[in-house]
């Protein structure tokens, strides 16, 4: 059992072994000690001490996240707490509302520990496009923690927060989770409200969670899922069995919810049909990453899963579809930053010059490139040839994946082609090279599928390797159950922490402020 998981803290709080104030103090101290080096946080809230003190003990059992501190990616609006999206454009922006996903956690008794670093507007693979400097990997500070949700991933991996929210548009939760050796879960599109998530590409953006264990990820997912009148894409009609199961879990309070969830996830893998997608093991994937993931597949086979190789050659084109669709949507969403209603304004004599100067200064390079490329693909001259073609190709790929799910329960593969690359390389890379970092995670976003990255082992450099499990729409709890089975079955050498410089979870020594 992970000593600093959400459910470990929750159990100590329930037994009276710890009070919320102890938990808040533990994390504030961990952040003070470690974050100056890692830079996972853009803002840390000392106020959590007082908020922890003010929680009412009579709410202890009713609130699933009573006294649990949570780190939130800085593209989720948090009322009264500065939200920058990693951009100069929003350097002093203080939102007047809360994002729905965070609001659910807050209503469940969670405390906002801080806001985490990200690539500007979540556009990047390393947090290196953040206007406020990159986040370092807790395992090796010379390396990336990945991105765009690199701050959230590093915070959980280094033991600076038990849980974090992130957003995943092309892999921005799963990729950093793989690089930092933790669990990163991206649910089915539409299951979690995107209200208050500053959009990058609305048809691809999904709220996701980072945690140290699969059960924690499931515990958080169940709590924040659900339709929201403020997000029309969260109104999808759920398959009745899945809807009933979600509703059942959500009715339960702690500890019944945690127990029921653990029972649901403990169903094993016997009889499960798993497809290893050849294209996910292609040329760009390093031999050691391939080796670790194939070993994991063999282990699941021993436990009763049926594992076969399949080929979907068209998946090679997922990056191209993504580049067009994502840029077109991003260009449109970023149109709101005009220096009029919120954010940066660079004064000018007329309103046109005001727009241009504000955007020139407020946006970084990556954002400008996506805006210009997105504008290009939607020009009337190129719309049919580029944008509409990409939308057709998106359906084509989604139906190819659907065909595979007629015969298999899950797709299995590496989350990333390599272990975490070193920092500082981003400036020399072209946009296409960057796309390859997300190539294995993009298909799930295009098709709206649930997918999780779970630590699978480590490369010869000692860095974590992530195993990605992808399921059909609304198989979220099944995907998590398979990940849970792997987590339970993986050999000791495949279990984090793998060593390196990550803070080992220290045994709990506090309690009631003694």
């Amino acid at each position: 059992m992970d000593e600093i998981s959400v459910l470990a803290w929750r159990s100590r709080i329930a037994s009276g072994e710890a009070v919320p104030e102890d938990v808040a103090r533990y994390y504030l101290e961990a952040i003070a000690a470690r974050d100056p080096e890692i830079h996972a946080f853009l803002l840390v809230r000392e106020e959590v001490r007082e908020e922890a003190r003010n929680l009412k003990v009579e709410d202890r059992d009713a609130l699933p996240f009573f006294g649990i501190p949570v780190a939130v990616k800085d593209n989720f609006l948090t009322r009264g707490v500065r939200t920058t999206a990693g951009s100069r454009m929003l350097e002093t922006y203080v939102p007047p509302v809360d994002a729905t996903a965070w609001e659910h956690l807050a209503h469940g008794g969670a405390l906002l520990l801080g806001k985490t670093n990200l690539d500007e507007f979540a556009m990047g693979v390393s947090t290196e496009t953040s206007a406020f400097g990159p986040t370092r990997n807790p395992w090796d500070p010379a390396r990336r923690s990945g991105g765009s949700s690199g701050g959230s991933a590093a915070a959980v991996a280094a033991g600076l927060s038990p849980l974090a929210l992130g957003s995943d548009t092309g892999g921005s939760v799963r990729q950093p989770a793989a690089y930092t050796g933790i669990v990163g879960f991206k649910p089915t599109y539409g299951l979690i409200s995107r209200y208050g998530l500053i959009p990058m590409a609305a048809s691809l953006d999904t709220v996701g969670v980072f945690s140290r264990t699969v059960v924690d990820a499931a515990y958080a997912f169940v709590h924040i899922a659900g339709s929201d009148p403020k997000d029309p894409t969260s109104f999808g009609k759920l398959p009745p069995t899945f809807a009933d199961r979600l509703a059942e879990l959500r009715r339960l309070a702690y500890p019944a919810r945690a127990e029921r969830l653990r029972a649901l996830l403990s169903r094993g893998v016997s009889g499960t049909k798993v497809a290893l997608v050849r294209e996910f093991f292609g040329g760009g994937v390093s031999p050691e990453v391939r080796g670790v993931v194939e070993a994991a597949a063999r282990r699941m086979e021993e436990l009763g899963a049926r594992v076969e190789y399949v080929s979907v050659p068209e998946l090679e084109l997922a990056g191209a579809v993504y580049a067009v669709v994502m840029s077109a949507e991003a260009a449109s969403h970023l149109g709101r930053f005009d220096g009029v209603r919120f954010g940066l304004r660079v004064p000018a004599e007329n309103v046109d010059a005001l727009y241009v100067r504000t955007r020139n200064r407020g946006f970084g390079w990556e954002a400008k490139r996506r805006i210009l490329f997105g504008t290009y693909v939607t020009l009337s001259e190129s719309f049919v040839d580029l944008y509409e073609r990409a939308l057709r190709a998106r359906r084509f790929l989604a139906s190819r994946l659907e065909t595979i799910f007629a015969d298999y329960d899950f797709l299995l593969g590496p989350t990333t082609p390599t272990t975490a690359p070193t920092l500082g390389a981003a400036g020399d890379q072209g946009p296409v090279v960057e796309l390859t970092q997300d190539l294995l995670t993009i298909p799930a976003n295009l098709a709206g599928l649930p997918a999780v990255s779970v630590p699978a082992g480590r490369g010869s450099d000692g860095m974590p390797v992530g195993l990605q499990i992808v399921g059909p729409r609304y198989s979220d709890l099944d995907v998590l159950a398979f990940a849970f089975a792997w987590e339970e079955a993986r050999p000791p050498e495949a279990r984090p922490p793998f060593g390196g410089k990550a803070a080992a979870p220290s045994p709990w020594e506090g309690g009631n402020g003694r």
Binding site: L317, N350, R395
Partner: protein, 155 residues
């Protein structure tokens, strides 16, 4: 002043020119550039170097007119140095996404959202925003509860 390396004008539509341009980029791996001082003229391969030296103009798959339009629509203006790099990166992206032309997409409808969403609209009931003050506090300039911008009307 100009040498025989120059490729004369083709008066093609924009879409034709782009297609042709990417074709050269992808198929022949040949570099191509425009020179803003010589409208409607493109240079290929080594001729680009001459053009670049002459005027510091980049290799581009996009015409100067398209650039102007893009910058106007995006409300962005790049410096000449930024433009050189941006043109190269956009060219890479365009070559990369040209692979989509391989797919047999006849009869495949565009997929805009990854899930079929029932068109459920919330009730048309006015609500009071939780905090108008907090909303306006983020505006760069406010007067009497309204956003202030420079004059948009002709004098």
């Amino acid at each position: 002043m100009h040498t025989g390396h120059e490729v004369p004008v083709w008066h093609l539509s924009f879409a034709q020119r782009t297609l042709l341009g990417f074709g050269f980029l992808a198929v022949r791996g040949e570099r191509m550039c425009y020179d803003s001082s010589v409208p409607h003229t493109r240079f290929f391969g080594n001729a680009c170097d001459a053009a670049l030296l002459r005027e510091g103009v980049a290799e581009v798959p996009l015409s100067p007119e398209t650039w102007e339009k893009l910058q106007y629509l995006a409300r962005l203006e790049l410096t000449p140095e930024e433009k050189v790099r941006m043109e190269r990166e956009l060219g890479e992206l365009l070559a990369y996404v040209s692979s989509l032309r391989q797919l047999p997409l006849d009869g495949v409808s565009p997929m805009i959202l990854p899930v079929e969403v029932e068109p459920v609209l919330r009730a048309d009931v006015p609500e009071v925003f939780p905090s108008r003050e907090e909303l306006l506090r983020n505006a760069p300039e406010v007067q009497d509860g309204a956003f202030v911008v420079p004059n948009v009307l002709e004098e």
